[in-house]
């Protein structure tokens, strides 16, 4: 949910509207804001799943230290979405999703 007007900060000034592709779905964002901000605004809370126990993770520190919010961005894994500006057309994927795990096992990666 976006905060459009604020008693102290006033009306928000945003950059131009852009579109991100998040796990295949289009998500609206504004140029200049962080990927995490755009995802939170769109209602997304789960950003990835952990490797071992497949547990959901989201934003925790919001300033690039804890790495809870990392996602694969334009093919690059482990990008800290809370400090990375969103760009038009960015392709963003969750890491560690159950179906990714199955694919990896099928391909002979992982434990064996």
């Amino acid at each position: 949910m976006r905060i459009e007007d604020h008693p102290i900060l006033g009306k928000v000034e945003r950059g131009r509207k852009i579109t991100l592709k998040v796990d295949g779905e289009p998500v609206m964002a504004f140029e200049g804001e962080t990927i995490a901000a755009a995802l939170i605004a769109s209602g997304q809370r789960v950003f990835r799943y952990t490797e071992k126990r497949v547990e959901p993770r989201g934003v925790f520190c919001a300033l690039g230290r804890c790495t809870d919010c990392v996602m694969t961005v334009d093919g690059q894994p482990n990008v800290r979405t809370c400090v990375t500006p969103a760009r038009d057309g960015m392709i963003i994927q969750m890491q560690g999703t159950p179906d990714q795990r199955e694919t990896a096992l099928d391909a002979g990666e992982g434990e064996g």
Partner: protein, 363 residues
Amino acid sequence: MGKTEIAVVGGGAAGMTAAIESARAGAQVTIIDENEQPGGQLFKQIHKFFGSGVHRAGTRGVQIGRDLLREAEEAGVQTRLNTVVYGIFPDKRLGLICGDHTEELASEIIILATGANENALSFPGWTLPGVMGAGATQTLININRVLPGRRILMVGAGNVGLIVSYQLLQAGADVIAVIEGLSYIGGYGVHASKIRRAGVPILTGFTVLRAEGKESVERAVIAQVDEKWQPISGSEEVLEVETICLAVGLSPLSELAWMAGCRFSFLPALGGWVPAHDENMQCNLPGIYVAGDLAGIEEASTAMEEGRLAGLAAAESLGYLPPEEGRKRKEELRNRLAALRIGSFGEGRATAKKKLMRAMCEK
């Protein structure tokens, strides 16, 4: 390899004032900050500051941040942004990471103003999306202008917990409760009064037992604690919240100071392990200064005065200030700092700072 006279690591409240003071005195100064723009925590502080006129009382942190940015530019401070200092080498060379490459920066003086990190509180369910630091929440609502949830539980009634609760109300969220493990409210009464008159309950002697939810926080279970901080069975309450903010203290971000070989002291009143410094903010290594939350968790106002003191002392050591003027101005800054470390909220920090400075003379 790049070169600067004074390298200021961290462009927050302390870093900016340090850079401004030393640049105005005539030194060549570079601020290195890992963020896109300097300001540190200042731009999140949308409330009016306390103190006196010289401390800019009655002015909002955001405004002070804007003023400092302008002053730094006018003073000719150089900046290296989106740049991480990963190491300090023995001859005061800094190792930098910018983008996809590393480089080195030679300096004569280093002022470390790296700030602090939020503490975490672990409990079952704390890894669920929706549990986050109170500072993280503040970044999301005041910088990113997004709400991380509508119904919030705030854990911790120190100044950060109380202030961020107020700011969440301003952003349009509902703070269902503020809980505090101690039997009293640690933050300023006036911050608590503001949210009480907005209908937010403040429950002292409570802790969070667990967060529940399938994919993210849906509920928080809280319980009363006894004097030994043990949950009292039968006192559990379930709160329907989506976000649990942890405001359980800050710790200095001191990796670079450790790495450089600074002497440390353990002082709980200042946030734990703190690099020792003298009355000029210089640590036991000549030419390395510390300022702001790194030198002890306090406030923005003390961070700015410590930054000025460090910057002034650094410029003076390079010969940019006549000794008499340097002495007078440093004395004035020490007085301004002392004025912020009095009263029931300040005297604990004043005592701890004295211990920290005594630690310089030990061994």
